[in-house]
């Protein structure tokens, strides 16, 4: 366990200041919306609350399941196991990361705590990043929902191919150019060392420990989920969806706007296929596929959750690289299909 030094003046002032700034921004934004639309402020606040609670209520169960998985990993998986199972070759390890979701079925809220625990156990960065980006789609539950919504066709195949490619490329780039110390926050770095022999508690004790960790994990990641849901709800209250839809035509712009929409909406990967169905008539196939492959990788709430695991600079790359690569893939798909 880490022993904290006295809080530095900067950090003790920084947090309340940041929270006060966020509150001021929130009040200004909703206030502006109320004045410009001529709607009573209480009603604007009501719309925000409905949207916020809607996103939170749907996402929280997935975060809880991810937290429990993270707790079980902490209690039952040893660093030795990771060391033994991960291929020495970086490419092989990264590809394994893209497929690891098949073993840990989690969506984009649950994947963050799981990845962090795996990093604690000494998982290589490239593998962890590929898992983080790939797993929200590369798991049996989301395969099923995509198949139910779209059948076995260009959308389903495109989603798989693009997700694997982007996850592996981003994993390799970040794993190659950043050392774990520069990529991960201290809390996400390896805590448990191979050949470290803790006294072995009973299975019941381990289960209890796993659930306690799950509760802590819910608070730690939940704050990012909650702030992210609030931000997403605020964006939706302020930015008219129609204006995005109206701009989304053509092989390039349609992909760009569907990705922006995916980022703003922050809909869970387990259900986003049904949502994408709504846009089938309006948007190009490339745009639908990019919406489905980019959305689960990065959105407003997962961006905030990433900041609890990675250094800020890496978080920026984790947004921009998948955005660019998905955009490229979506546009290529559109050209291939002849839009």
């Amino acid at each position: 366990m880490r022993i904290d030094a006295l809080p530095s003046p900067r950090s003790s002032l920084f947090k309340p200041l940041l929270m006060a700034l966020l509150l001021v921004f929130f009040l200004a934004a909703t206030g502006y919306q109320a004045i410009s639309s001529g709607i009573d402020y209480a009603l604007v606040l009501g719309v925000f609350a409905t949207r916020f609670l809607g996103i939170f209520v749907e996402a929280a169960p997935f975060l809880l399941l991810g937290s429990i998985t993270a707790g079980l990993i902490e209690a039952f998986v040893k660093a030795d196991d990771i060391y033994r199972l991960v291929p020495r070759n970086r490419l092989a390890a990264t590809v394994m990361g893209a497929f690891l979701g098949l073993a840990f079925p989690v969506c984009e809220c649950g994947v963050v705590p799981v990845t962090r625990r795996l990093f604690n156990k000494g998982l290589p960065v490239s593998l962890g990043v590929a898992f983080l980006l790939g797993a929200p789609f590369m798991n049996p539950i989301v395969f099923a929902s995509t198949y139910i919504a779209f059948g076995f066709g260009p959308v389903f195949i495109g989603r798989i191919v693009i997700t694997i490619l982007v996850a592996v490329i981003v994993g390799l780039v970040i794993g190659t150019f950043a050392k774990p110390g520069a990529a991960l926050l201290p809390l996400s770095q390896q805590q448990d060392h191979p050949h470290d022999h803790h006294p072995a508690p009973t299975a019941r004790g381990k289960l209890l420990q796993a659930l306690q960790i799950a509760a802590d994990e819910f608070f730690e990641m939940g704050r990012f989920l909650i702030l992210g849901s609030a931000l997403a709800a605020l964006m939706q209250t302020l930015v008219p969806q129609e204006s995005l839809l109206a701009l989304g035509t053509g092989p390039v712009l349609s992909v760009l706007f569907m990705q922006v929409l995916a980022y703003i909406l922050s809909v869970c990967s387990t259900v986003d296929s049904f949502l994408a169905l709504a846009f089938v008539n309006t948007f190009t196939t490339g745009a639908i596929v990019s919406f489905l492959s980019f959305g689960p990788m990065v959105d407003i709430k997962s961006t905030l959750m990433f900041t609890g695991v990675f250094q800020k600079r890496i978080v920026l790359y984790l947004i921009l690289l998948p955005f660019m690569l998905n955009l490229l893939a979506g546009v290529l798909l559109n050209l291939l299909l002849g839009y």
Binding site: S8, T50, P61, V173, Q212, A232, Q241, A278
Partner: protein
């Protein structure tokens, strides 16, 4: 290419510091929030207010969520009470700021009355385009059972707006007006929802009635009448000429599920 230099470890330790109230207080506050979440999720299920937030077909998620919240709260109570809770791996110190953020959904749910998205949530206009792909059962609905979404799908499939001249319609929705609308016209609107309110989308069909001006924007109405293609705010569209406009209470399920 990118460069990512090594930051010294000491500079990275800053996010670690939290002002920590006594441990017991934190532990009980955590338990209270977890239990509160469990009760809130359960209440959403029992009261039916869940309909305001997410599509009914995902209600099982909320059942799972409520159960896990209560389970975690019970585990927390057990470990707070039991003497040998010594092997707690507290890698992470939870401070007042995190507790406050975690309590935010509960505070909002308690302080702002829960309601569905209505007229004031319409941001940027009402769409005349249907959302999603109709199921077989929706396509086979008889004309008088069709809701606004079903009608918009029919309009989209038809070759001309005049294809529905004389068809009887009986729909519910809320009144929406824009500056360009005629005195006797409004859009009767509903929100559609695929997953949760994050993807709520306002759709509507044009209605014309002599007494249209009697109803305020946002009021829920049942409109009965016959369709006829006509000019509506500059577009040639199928318009519902309503013989009867009847104010109704907001339905139990305010949204349409595509």
């Amino acid at each position: 290419m990118m460069t990512m230099e090594n930051t010294p470890m000491t500079a990275m330790a800053e996010h670690q510091h939290y002002e920590t109230p006594p441990d017991d207080l934190i532990a009980w506050a955590k338990t209270a929030i977890l239990l509160g979440m469990g009760v809130y999720f359960g209440w959403l299920l029992i009261s039916g207010n869940l309909n305001y937030y997410i599509n009914q077909r995902f209600a099982w998620l909320v059942v799972v969520g409520a159960a896990v919240f209560v389970l975690l709260a019970l585990v927390n109570i057990y470990s707070s009470l039991s003497a040998d809770a010594g092997c707690r791996h507290q890698h992470f110190q939870i401070g007042w700021d995190i507790l406050l953020i975690a309590a935010l959904p509960l505070l909002l749910a308690l302080s702002i009355p829960s309601r569905s998205l209505g007229i004031e949530a319409v941001n940027g206009g009402i769409s005349l385009n249907p959302v999603g792909v109709a199921s077989q059962s929706a396509l086979q609905r008889s004309p008088l059972d069709r809701n606004i979404l079903d009608w918009l799908r029919e309009f989209e499939r038809a070759s001309t707006p005049a294809a529905f001249n004389g068809a009887a319609a009986d729909v519910i929705g809320f009144v929406y007006r824009e500056p360009g609308f005629a005195e006797d016209g409004f859009m009767l609107s509903r929100f559609t929802m695929s997953c949760c309110v994050a993807d709520a989308f306002a759709i509507g069909m044009p209605v014309s009635a002599p007494d249209a001006a009697d109803f305020e924007a946002g009021v829920w109405l049942r409109a009965r009448g016959k369709l006829a293609a006509d000019d509506f705010a500059g577009d040639y569209l199928p318009v519902l000429f309503a013989d009867s406009l009847e104010p109704i209470a907001e339905p139990q399920q305010p949204y349409l599920y595509p």
